[in-house]
């Protein structure tokens, strides 16, 4: 990877590539701002230096994304995922301005066991933010195609099919998609015809200025198809969203922050609260990555998203648990 800065939109001495590079070792928080489809990024250290004025001012809506809790996992990469999940919730509770709601982008559990869901729910009781929206990960639908998951987490949102739904908050349209069921041999994540037809109808009557936030477990862009990190029919879904001025896609699954901008669409993946996974193609497989104990929390984290009415920009901030 080159160390040269190729896109320095804000003349702040760092570009996206350099930023991701830093993430590999620094584990510091990140601020992503999107303005008119152009992405810029600064470290939290740089923001602190520049003063609070450099942060987005009063926001109309702020929410948090947490992902990949994997409750039930107890291997070398993190023998106590319940503890790190709790630390993430403590961080949320300590925020000066509480988020309006949480989004969990899947893999709540490791093996979809009822007792794992029980532990997840029990720990979550400590979270002061009670409004939580979910999409399932492949670990949440093992054995029963997600029946238990849906009974517990999607009844209140009147989810359709395998658990997809949409809702509106402060003029932003949120869409929760499911791409972890009925997967085909040799394939990637999949949305399926029923869900795609529903999506087309769901956004049909929305004005193009409506900000859209899509969230799903497996990335809706081809992060690394060799490891299954992509969704086979995501292009069709994105086709229905092309006409909108601001689309933010939030995913989990790969346990690391990656971001890409394509036209008016910003793709973003979140860290896990359980264990890191290797960067695409850097290991024999995408399995849990073992790091020294003192480094673990710097590779786990959560994502904060802020929206200000009248602006197309949504600010996405990743912060670690270290």
């Amino acid at each position: 990877m080159s160390d040269y800065i190729s896109h320095d939109h804000e003349d702040d001495g760092i570009d996206r590539r350099g930023f991701l590079h830093c993430m590999a070792w620094a584990g510091t928080g990140l601020l992503w701002t999107i303005s008119g489809g152009v992405l810029a990024s600064r470290t939290l250290a740089q923001i602190a230096k520049a003063g609070e004025d450099s942060l987005p001012s009063a926001t109309d809506l702020s929410f948090l994304q947490i992902s990949d809790s994997h409750i039930g996992f107890s291997k070398e990469a993190n023998k106590d995922v319940t503890a790190t999940f709790k630390i993430a919730l403590d961080r949320i509770n300590a925020m000066p301005t509480p988020p309006a709601f949480l989004i969990h982008t899947g893999d709540l559990t490791q093996l979809s066991k009822p007792e794992e869901f029980d532990t997840f729910d029990e720990v979550l009781k400590s979270c002061q933010t009670k409004d939580i929206f979910y999409v399932p990960g492949e670990h949440d639908v093992l054995g029963d195609d997600g029946k238990l998951y849906r009974e517990r987490y999607t009844k209140r949102v009147e989810a359709k099919g395998a658990g997809w739904y949409s809702f509106n908050k402060n003029g932003v349209h949120f869409i929760g998609l499911v791409n972890v069921v009925n997967l085909q041999a040799g394939g990637l994540g999949q949305l399926g015809d029923d869900q795609l037809e529903w999506l087309e109808a769901d956004v049909k009557d929305l004005g193009t200025s409506t900000p859209i936030v899509v969230f799903a477990h497996i990335p809706l862009w081809a992060v690394y198809p060799q490891w299954g990190w992509g969704t086979s029919d995501s292009e069709r879904a994105l086709g229905y969203l092309k006409r909108f001025g601001s689309v933010t896609v939030l995913n989990g699954h790969i346990h690391q922050v990656l971001q890409k901008v394509e036209g008016n669409v910003t793709f973003h993946t979140a860290m896990s609260t359980a264990f890191p996974q290797p960067a695409p193609g850097t290991a024999p497989s995408p399995g849990p990555m073992k790091v020294p104990a003192e480094k673990l929390r710097s590779m786990l984290g959560l994502t904060s998203v802020q929206y200000k009415q009248g602006k197309s920009a949504l600010a996405v901030v990743d912060s670690t648990l270290s």
Binding site: K75, L183, A185, G186, Q226, G228, G287
Partner: protein, 123 residues
């Protein structure tokens, strides 16, 4: 002395016989364990998100066992639903089926569908 030598010869012969038995036994085990790489006969090892061997040839009526050596769970599913699917296999858990009618059986991991494998069942 003579007697001692005779005894020594007897001991040597006994040792030789034991060695032959041991060799035979060990070879027998090696045959049972397949390629000598620690895998049992008709065993498919799941490691680093791959099924090994990728293609397994068995006789009808023989048992086939998958064993998961990853820290990630895997779930074995027949593409054409020709055999029952496994439960989610956590680390070191096994799943066994008995090969039935001769033919080609393709399967994959329904959690990580990039992982695929084939079983050829002969008469």
């Amino acid at each position: 002395m003579h007697t001692l030598i005779a005894k020594s010869k007897t001991v040597r012969i006994l040792f030789a016989i034991s060695f032959l038995f041991l060799t035979h036994f060990t070879l027998g085990q090696a045959e049972k364990e397949g390629a000598g790489d620690g895998t049992k006969k008709n065993q498919i090892v799941i490691k680093d998100f791959h099924f090994t061997p990728q293609t397994l040839t068995v006789k009808s009526g023989e048992k086939i066992t998958w064993i998961n050596r990853d820290e990630e769970p895997h779930l074995v599913v027949s593409v054409e639903k020709q055999f029952k699917k496994s439960p989610p296999l956590d680390t070191d858990q096994e799943f066994t089926i008995t090969a039935s009618a001769p033919g080609t059986y393709t399967y994959f991991c329904s959690i990580h569908p990039k992982m695929t494998g084939t079983i050829l069942v002969e008469k």
